[in-house]
Amino acid sequence: MKKPALPRQNGSAQKKSLSSLLAVVLFLVFFILALCANIIAPHDPWERFDPYLPPSVEHWLGTNDLGHDILSELIYGSRVSLLVGLGAAVLATAIGLCVGLFAGYYKGVTDEILMGITDVFLMIPRIPLIILLAAFLKPSFWIIALVIGFLWWTSTARVVRSKSLQVSEMNFVLSSKCLGFSDKHIIFTDIFPNIIQIVIPKFMLTVAAAMITEASLSFLGLGDPSMKSWGMMINFAFTKGGLINALWWWFIPPGLCIMFFVYSVVLLGYSLEEKEQAVLGIS
């Protein structure tokens, strides 16, 4: 079933591994930042110094309106932002995987129903709904991750379904069926491993989407103000005069962090995806 690998242009393999390496390095840097925030950060991000300080030796990125050290905020912010992104993506991928697997394996009525639900979710106007839910539920970052995850699984489900449709027609699955293994067993031991390689890139892209959504929600003031995420930092930078006073060290770094992290995740996703020659799809 596997198509012969296409001959590639000269040097592309090299370039690919280089950009993948960059992505992995970036990802790891952020991951370590989040993990060891308390060691790396020069200050406690809740400690108040003089407000609105420009960058200096003491505060590399200056301080914000409450006098918090922006660099430390940024480092601690990676925790919340990564958690929201990864949390939402885990949820979305889990839902998408289950829906897709079951629809693709059982086919028939189950497929119709599950894909019908997927269609509904695909067609729900996401952004307004997410704003609505974020405004309605107490804005803690877990809730935001939950809401994003709950709305972002559709494309994963579709991809998984078509792949598991393919896989479940393959000989080894058919023989497992003949041997009388339970459906659950077949789905998780036979089909699942064959799907994982298309799920991982999707997962990465969902992380990216979730982080951008979290930042956008925070920008609308619907984030969790007691949590320091990159999105909330941008929000405060804008509501507290960062833009108007051109305090670039306040609002540019969190924006760049979001961009860099999303970039690393997307690049990782792409390189995994292209390796598997799966359909590129980002939404």
């Binding site: 409450l66 405004a135 309605f136 107490k138 804005p139 969790d224 103000p225 007691s226 108007i244 006073n245």
Partner: protein
């Protein structure tokens, strides 16, 4: 532009080049064609006979009767019967003078005789009668009128007589907020709830609304051709609506607008530094009649305990709040709540930051930390964990308060919600602490002296209605019972003593309202109720001499 370069490189071959250039030209032609106008705003800057006001109020509809944002602006075209003077007194505007019966049951408003609507019709007592009845019958906010006003009649040619059902001393104050409607237009409008008029709105002020274009985000005022009063020295007024305060600030700095105005708001403090560097701007700075305060749910322990409230008041670092939240544009308040700008201000004890004392009080009044986890327990033995309900605008303040209370051993969780949810939860008393602000009108509504925020016998979207104390009710009723100056001052002092003694809310800071204005205009007048947005101001403003 990097994108375009690359695009043109990619497309730099054969037919795509032509298409690409064509598209670029299509985009660029209108930009280039605009001739000598180098940029937006720069050319416009020359005109100093049109006053441009920038606001960030979310005006939703072209309905001057019911849209609360637009009705603030509509007072210029549809003035109210009464107005507030720059020093805070309520005097007649459309009404020349008023006569009040000694039992406060009969109010007689004598109407100015030389007022004309912008379509040439004379303003008559009929219009006033119509307006009051129209508000009473059709406005959702005028429930009080139904309970209060019995009949509206016209005595002789120029007076409107209001016969009340119960004595009411503050009718003149109320009449400073309702806009006069032309009867000959509005009598045919049966459902104001479904009425908008984006075109000319007939008005009788020195200016009238020529156009409300919400897609463009402007309200345009032109001079009323039939205005007989002192001639305005400016030709027109434009209100520009921005949805983003930063963009408004940029526009101000660029000279696209001449002055900032939001009802009950200062120009954002954090944006001031930038505009202060712009030599074309000057500033009006006034201590407002309002303040930011920490509201307490008095019906719930431990907030019901005066000692606990005292302790809270010592835990808060007012100086730092002023430094961080108002960037110095605030004053440390007194326990008496009301700022000195309020009539009959009494100098009560200033609030003090003393965490040691706060801890002492908490220890002494049974809020010790017996289980040693760093969090004090209440009288029920459970950890003190309070919910601080705030709207996103107060997120930073909440962070500070949370920190102050944590350091004296009281745990709080901030719950940041949108306004509708805030109102909903607040009205159902589903909070422990909340941060709120007062508005100029709020300070004088009900019995005045901020009583409207606390009297639990009435509700409202911005008020806490959390005092359920007969002593306080009595004070409100006393204030409402008289217009006698001495008596009023006495009662006002008593109210401030009550606030001072009971601490129903902890004021955080008295704020200063700063209004930047372009120096090409001079002669600014403000009043405590509407700031610069008042007729006296727009009649007084003139282009500055160069």
């Amino acid at each position: 532009m990097r994108f375009l370069n690359q695009a043109s490189q990619i497309l730099g071959k054969k037919p795509f080049k032509k298409i690409f250039i064509l598209i670029c030209l299509l985009i660029l032609i209108p930009i280039l064609r605009s001739g000598p106008r180098v940029g937006y705003g720069i050319a416009k800057n020359q005109n100093n006979r049109i006053l441009r006001i920038g606001t960030s109020g979310r005006v939703r509809s072209a309905n001057i009767f019911l849209d609360s944002y637009i009705s603030v602006f509509a007072q210029l075209s549809n003035p109210s019967l009464m107005k507030m003077t720059p020093d805070g007194r309520i005097v007649g505007q459309i009404a020349k003078d008023i006569h009040i019966s000694s039992d406060y049951m009969r109010w007689e408003f004598h109407i100015q005789e030389d007022l004309y609507w912008s379509d040439g019709e004379l303003v008559t007592p009929e219009d006033v009668k119509f307006t009051i009845e129209y508000i009473r019958d059709r406005s959702p906010v005028a429930g009080w009128m139904k309970d209060t006003i019995d009949t509206v009649s016209i005595s002789d040619e120029k007076a409107v007589i209001l016969q009340l059902k119960r004595p009411y001393t503050r009718l003149d104050v109320e009449m400073a907020t309702h806009r006069l409607l032309p009867k000959h237009i509005w009598q045919s409008i049966d459902t104001p709830m479904q009425y908008t008029n984006p075109g000319e709105n007939v008005g009788c002020g020195p200016f009238f609304i020529q156009k409300i274009d919400l897609n463009r985000g402007v309200i345009l005022f032109a001079q009323n051709p039939f205005w007989k009063g002192p001639k305005p020295k400016i030709d027109a007024i434009e209100v520009h609506i921005y949805q983003n305060i930063d963009v408004l600030s940029l526009a101000l700095d660029k000279g696209e607008i001449d002055v900032f105005y939001n009802y009950a708001s200062s120009y954002p403090y954090q944006n001031l530094k930038k505009i202060r560097a712009n030599s074309r701007f000057d500033f009006i700075e006034k201590l407002s009649t309002g303040l930011i305060f920490l509201g307490l749910n008095l019906g719930k322990a431990p907030m019901s305990d005066l000692r606990f409230r005292e302790a809270l008041s010592f835990a808060i670092d007012y100086g730092e709040i002023i430094k961080l939240d108002s960037l110095g544009y605030g004053k440390i308040p007194n326990r008496g709540f009301l700022p000195p700008t309020i009539e009959h201000y009494k100098d009560t004890t200033p609030l003090e930051y003393n965490p040691e004392k706060a801890k002492q009080i908490l220890d002494d009044s049974g809020y010790g930390d017996h289980n040693g986890d760093g969090i004090r327990e209440g009288h029920d033995g459970k950890n003190l964990a309070l919910t601080l309900l705030v709207r996103p605008v107060h997120a930073r303040l909440a962070e500070l308060i949370q920190d102050y209370l944590r350091s004296v051993g009281v745990k709080t969780t901030t719950k940041s919600v949108d306004t509708s949810t805030w109102i909903n939860l607040k009205d159902r008393y589903r909070y422990d602490l909340t941060i709120a602000r007062t508005t100029p009108w709020g300070m004088i509504m009900h019995a005045g002296w901020a009583t409207g925020y606390f009297d639990s016998r009435r509700t409202g979207e911005g008020v806490l209605h959390n005092i359920d104390d007969p002593k306080f009710f009595k004070l409100c009723d006393d204030l409402l019972s008289t217009r006698n100056k001495e008596k009023l001052r006495d009662f006002a002092f008593q109210v401030q003593d009550y606030y001072n003694g009971q601490l129903p809310a902890i004021p955080l800071y008295w704020n200063v309202f700063v209004t930047p204005f372009h120096t090409k205009f001079q002669g600014w007048l403000t009043n405590p109720l509407y700031g610069i947005f008042n007729i006296d101001n727009f009649l007084n403003i003139e282009p500055a001499q160069k």
